[in-house]
Symmetry: C2
């Protein structure tokens, strides 16, 4: 009987997750029956939303102690009993944090050969060309409908969602301001991703620097964090601003949901705030990839990966992500 | 030299306003020069937004101690040096809380004779057929775009904005649930204004009663209050709900802007929150009145007025309004 090595939940984290909240163990795998595909992971995806899953708060998902952490992965098909997949195919899906995964073929997505790996490496199917990129594209083009001349403000700007959102907004002709934690991250947001400016929310002069970066106000704010950064952004909304509410990193580690921002500025600006859940946009995957392919061909799309190595490194890498220590998309290479 | 009797600001209120925050005094009036109109007030309008004006927080307005409170009024033209107005005309405008006002004719609106007083009394030009009614119409038809079958939840449901919003939503075929403070107000929201149900936010079982009233969730929430009522409403949003942020009565008396609701439910529901400022819709006044005229002709529009008598009663009536003691639109009849 074949087995997998997997990262499982040892106990539900309290506050910022600790490596001891996870275990790495061997688990048996069933036979490859009809319709199933056996996948060997190349890259595991570490994403902030998983923190909510661990607490049972992510859109109804919950997780038992002992269960495999249900992250996404890019994998190679090792055995297939599904007509759509052949040995050697590159696939992505909710394969869990484990070396081998046996899943229904219907749950897998084959990485399109027009892009992978000729235009971008397979790992980007978990970042700029995967769920985070789709999130960014949906928020910028489908909800906020960014157009040329907009001033677009983006928090967690060095992360895969924020950096993708900024590049898409730049491609649409917007002026793009990032918010990130620390001078080093801010520098990379500008130099690597081409944002027009980036403001350090950990800096003592955050509020005045934000004001200076957006002298005419913000037409679009893409929020990945919530908390005091959201509150600060709301104070700079231009008339009829659009705010995309995408993530609440600020509270993912909290046991109790904190209060939110005073909404007076939203009324004053006649702003529109829109909740974004990327699952709603999975049917638009093809349109998203076609758009990103164009950017790739124009060399107008970059990415930044924070890669750990080996399954055993996964818990510590996730804990680093959840305390803001990552630089770019968090991945584990197996 | 002619004079007026006026309610003026004695000191900026702290917390809930007190009658001693106001003074009633005689003030001289200048001559009626070209373009000016002298108006004698019939009804003064008491509106919660004035509380923010008193604190200098209403969209940049501020007010000096000693100044006339800049409320609206319905008045009769007593002398006119403006071609559009004749003695005896019924007008409305920002005439201030005073017996006589001398203003530019350009700032006045003549009450249309097709409606006043044949279909509705002049006082309603300050309520259901005035700024509060326009606010309700804009929120329901222009922002939330209520359609038949929607479940529409409305706070401060007995007030002129909430009760107008509910009646317009009913006319559009929606199921309408009110929120009001106290059993007596809730009863009137249902019996007088025809809401399908009304939930008492002061009741101990508010949260469970709200849930029971909206078993399928809320498609539209029209918020006039903010605070814990807004937070409770967000917990019941249906997928793709629209939230109109119209007023924050809950914090108008506060010296410091309080925190707002956690926005996680907005993301989960993929909801849209829209800030409403009625001034943006003044250009649509004719469309609004045409719509309301139709409802009047169908006997599908009611109002409720809480009328005090005499200029001296104005401060106490406003303080009653700002502590939630009013039943319907607060007016002072002179």
């Amino acid at each position: 009987m074949q087995s997998t090595r997997a990262v499982t939940l040892a106990k539900v984290p309290s506050g910022v997750p600790q490596p001891a909240d996870f275990a790495v163990q061997s688990l048996p795998l069933p036979e490859v029956t009809a319709g199933k595909v056996l996948c060997r992971a190349q890259f595991l995806s570490l994403d902030p939303y998983l923190r909510s899953v661990l607490s049972g708060r992510h859109l109804g998902h919950s997780l038992d102690v002992g269960a495999v952490i249900p992250g996404s992965a890019v994998s190679v098909v090792e055995r297939s009993a599904h007509d759509d997949f052949a040995v050697g195919d590159l696939v992505s899906g909710a394969l869990g944090w484990q070396t081998l995964a046996l899943v229904d073929g219907a749950s897998l997505r084959k990485l399109p050969s027009a892009i992978f790996p000729s235009l971008a490496p397979a790992s980007t199917a978990l970042g700029v060309l995967g769920m985070p990129g789709l999130t960014a594209w949906a928020g910028i083009t489908q909800l906020a409908k960014v157009t040329a001349g907009d001033t677009v403000l983006i928090s967690a700007a060095l992360g895969p969602v924020g950096s993708s959102a900024g590049q898409i907004a730049k491609a649409l002709g917007a002026r793009v301001i990032g918010i990130a934690g620390g001078a080093q991250k801010c520098a990379q947001v500008v130099s690597h991703f081409g944002f027009d400016a980036c403001v350090d929310y950990k800096s003592a002069d955050f509020l005045s620097a934000l004001k200076a970066a957006c002298p005419l106000g913000v037409n679009v704010y893409f929020d990945n964090v919530g908390g005091r950064v959201l509150e600060a952004a709301l104070a700079h909304l231009a008339l009829h601003a659009r705010v995309v509410l995408c993530g609440l990193i600020d509270q993912y580690n909290a046991d109790v949901r904190p209060a939110g921002p005073n909404l007076g500025p939203v009324i004053g600006a006649r702003a529109t705030m829109m909740g974004l859940v990327v699952y709603d946009f999975y049917p638009m995957q093809a349109a998203f990839l076609a758009y990103m392919q164009t950017l790739l061909q124009q060399h107008a799309l970059r990415w930044l990966e924070d890669v750990s190595h080996g399954l055993e490194s996964t818990p510590a890498a996730f804990c680093k992500l959840m305390s803001g220590g990552n630089f770019g998309k968090s991945l584990v290479q197996l």
